[in-house]
């Protein structure tokens, strides 16, 4: 049996059997059929449910005349992300704020939940940042096709039509490398933060790990911002029009 967090134990007690049946339908044999929900997945589910409840609460309390504290905070976040995407993408960037803000909240909460004892960061396993990066990749490709139709494929051909046979493989590889770099950047930062705190905890159990936990919190915030910023930059590359 793998080592499970308390929340994972609760989820496995309730849902392990249906999840194992679902996985076997997809021809995947789980390593521990009695505990087929992994720690990272249960933490993701927890973050998702928490954010869902939070968004529903804020939505029900929206008011023009008397905004509460939560509404102020969400307006601040929306203003920040909208301002940044306006600066980078330019005109008509309101439609992208919803996805970018949801991505920001999810990654931020996933990063920070590892600091609380009894929970672990889902972003410290490689598969979760891969999921976020694939979501961002699919999103900006879809926005590119929506904006320019089939003419979006001209972006891959480079500046001159004569260079197209050279540019297309290079552009394809560089787009796939974006997914890889987003994934590894987020995963390595979170994983390294955990490792460094553990190493210093094993050396000096009192006082010193707090400094590294503080650094880890700072890095969590910065990496969330960088992920959202890079997604905005890729969006700009996909929907920009040459004047």
């Amino acid at each position: 049996m793998p080592e499970q967090l308390w929340f994972t134990k609760i989820l496995n007690g309730m849902f392990a059997v249906p999840v194992t049946m679902l996985l076997r339908l997809l021809h995947i044999e789980p390593k521990y059929p009695a505990a087929s929900i992994s720690n990272s997945f249960s933490m993701e589910v927890l973050v998702f449910c928490f954010l869902l409840v939070l968004f529903l609460i804020v939505r029900s309390r929206l008011s023009v005349d008397r905004p509460g504290a939560l509404q102020h905070m969400f307006e601040g976040v929306e203003g920040f992300i909208h301002g940044q995407s306006e600066e980078i993408i330019g005109h008509h960037s309101e439609g992208y704020t919803a996805f970018l803000a949801a991505l920001c909240f999810f990654i931020l909460l996933c990063n920070l939940i590892g600091v609380i004892p009894g929970f672990e960061s889902p972003t410290a396993v490689p598969i979760v940042p891969l999921g976020c990066a694939l979501c961002a990749f699919v999103y900006y490709q879809i926005q590119g096709f929506k904006h320019a139709g089939i003419g979006y494929l001209k972006h891959f051909a480079g500046p001159m039509p004569a260079l197209a046979p050279l540019m297309i493989p290079i552009e394809l590889i560089s787009h796939l490398a974006r997914v890889l770099s987003l994934t590894i950047r987020l995963f390595a930062n979170m994983f390294a933060g955990d490792m460094v705190t553990l190493v210093f905890f094993s050396l000096v159990p009192i006082g010193v790990p707090i400094v590294f936990l503080g650094l880890h919190i700072g890095v969590s915030l910065l990496q969330t911002y960088i992920f959202v910023l890079l997604t905005t930059v890729y969006l700009q590359g996909a929907v920009s029009e040459e004047h």
Binding site: E87, S181, I184, R185, F187, A188, N189, F191, A192, L222, Q223, Y225, I226, L229, L230, V233
Partner: protein, 100 residues
């Protein structure tokens, strides 16, 4: 001290590696993977630090010249630092993936 004697002094450090040739294979051997991992991580971090220092220095100087352009300079600085940092972290990921 002229350049040649300095060079010989530095090269003489390699004599510390001589015990590696001592025994054929009677013991379990030196853990070359761990040594290579340590060296490669040190290289990656050192060169990353140099690059980030250059980026920060030029950002600070341009901010001093033109404080009104702060948002743009801050954006470029943070983006640049994070991208350079991620290159050093790729080395760490390879180490964790390959070193048992």
């Amino acid at each position: 001290m002229n350049k040649l004697s300095k060079l010989f002094m530095i090269l003489s450090v390699f004599s510390f590696a001589v015990p590696a040739f001592a025994q054929g294979g009677a013991e379990s051997g030196v853990n070359w993977v761990a040594i290579a991992a340590g060296f490669s991580m040190a290289f990656a971090s050192g060169i990353c630090a140099l690059a980030q220092g250059k980026a920060t220095a030029s950002a600070a100087e341009s901010l001093a010249r033109n404080p009104a352009a702060r948002p743009g300079i801050q954006l470029a600085l943070i983006l640049g630092l994070a991208l350079i940092e991620s290159l050093a972290l790729y080395t760490l990921v390879i180490i964790f993936a390959k070193v048992k």
